[in-house]
Symmetry: C2
Subunit: 251 residues, 2 copies
DNA sequence: TGTTCGCCTATTGTATACCATGCTACATGT
DNA sequence: ACATGTAGCATGGTATACAATAGGCGAACA
């Protein structure tokens, strides 16, 4: 895949749509691209990410790649060893539990704040969300539910009106993407029912309930994931070690 | 200031102490250096950080500088506008409150977990810390107390035994450095008394108490800071706009 | 046969140089 | 007074070169 960024001095390529490409720098695009590739499983835990190869794969130079990797490293999606390069982060069961634990607390806090500060605007958005959710449930439209899932979390984060918490939640969701992405049996219906309950708690301004429900929601999702992930042997979990690496090949 | 890193191909410099300098890459050193410069106030909120100037100032090329800036951007210490470069982040009062709010919650959670999982090793470390604290108090050694402050937070984070929480707390402390760094009247004594109480709560395994005390501790510190920061007019707070910028020498 | 040492290779870390583009400020024209 | 042109600066990116290093692999060795 070639990033359609403006090419450097050397190669001319075609000056096609040089305009319109103004927003979001290459490194940003790259960061998102790689992040997505990790979240969707194209790069699997343990896979090596080599600067040169990525640069070639995306048709960019090493600099943006490096900067993107720095970002992903901090986000916790990559493990970087000095002079040895980056690999997609693996998660042991313990770490997964830790992540769930923290995320549960943060979502709880988020919901609590949302309930505390629920104003008319938020209220309207919640009603809208509930409506769309009901429709998606009736139509059994799981794709839409998945989207609503994202919207839900975003709304909560927004409603909590704490910039820092919002950023943290974003990072945390990024770090725990496997909770949903890796899940084979997407428990869409249960999940949305829980969401509904949380939203109602927020609407009624019940901080405590909202908080508890939100926490439990995360624990449930996390537990569902952990149950699914049965260790075959005593083997290192979440690994794809036999796979050589993230070579560009079949892509 | 010149970073004593191994120089590139061009300049030879002297091969002095090329060994021993193996740990931590330039960009890491740079990141810490700049972070420290921000935290200690050498670069003030609003100051512009120009890549070239930083590169020259630290005697390195632009690449490591850029990567360092990316890191600091994510950490929230820098605000970066596309094509406009980075400035040291400013905090409005509202943001400060938000930061305090979140950090209070996280410290509370941290303390709660620490209390829940307090094992013998942690217990020993707590006793050690308490001892050192008592001594520092008796000697009125404020510098030592400041150090103990750091140790305290580190111990709590460690005792909570949640890798993600630990990382978040680190980032959060980085983002709220001004709570202590900017504080003119370092409320060392009060602070340590609160620390003591928290540690005792943890020792006795009282999750709830530990959590509440820890939260309140942060609120107190935050309040102390906010009180201090009196707005002269209706002006934008935490700004040093009249200062030209972070230009190097005669500029 | 198992271990240690040293070389080789792949990759990262850094430097250098230059180009393209977007801002900003300033100058200019109306 | 206001719109417009323009020059300079700083960023974002490309390309290239080279040094340093971690690990792998094989040779020498016990």
């Amino acid at each position: 895949m070639r990033m359609t960024g403006r090419r450097g001095p050397g190669r001319a390529e075609s000056p096609e749509q040089v305009l319109g490409m103004r927003h979001s720098s290459l490194r940003e695009t790259l960061t998102n691209e790689i992040r997505m590739a990790i979240m969707t499983g194209r790069y699997k835990p343990g896979d090596r990410l080599v600067e040169d190869r990525l640069a070639e794969e995306y048709g960019v130079s090493r600099n943006p790649v490096r900067e993107a990797m720095r970002v992903l490293e901090i986000e916790g999606l990559l493990e970087v060893k000095p002079r040895r390069g980056a690999t997609v982060a693996k998660f042991t069961d313990d770490e997964a539990k830790e992540a769930v634990e923290l995320r549960a607390s943060l979502e709880g806090l988020s919901a609590r704040l949302a309930a505390r500060r629920c104003n008319d605007e938020v209220r309207a958005q919640i009603f809208d969300l509930l409506g769309r959710g009901r429709r998606a449930m009736e139509e059994q439209n799981w794709e839409a539910l998945r989207q609503l899932n994202d919207d839900f979390h975003q709304l909560i984060a927004y409603a909590g009106s704490n910039r820092f918490l919002r950023e943290f939640m974003h990072a945390m969701r990024s770090k725990t993407f496997w909770m949903i992405a890796g899940s084979k049996s997407w428990r869409g219906r249960d999940s949305w029912k829980e969401h509904e309950a949380i939203l109602h708690a927020i609407l009624s301004g019940d901080e405590e309930l909202a908080s508890i429900l939100a926490s439990r929601h995360v624990y449930n999702a996390g537990q569902a994931f952990l149950d699914e992930r049965v260790q075959p042997d005593g083997e290192d979990p979440a690994v794809a070690d036999t796979e050589p690496a993230a070579r560009s090949g079949g892509g």
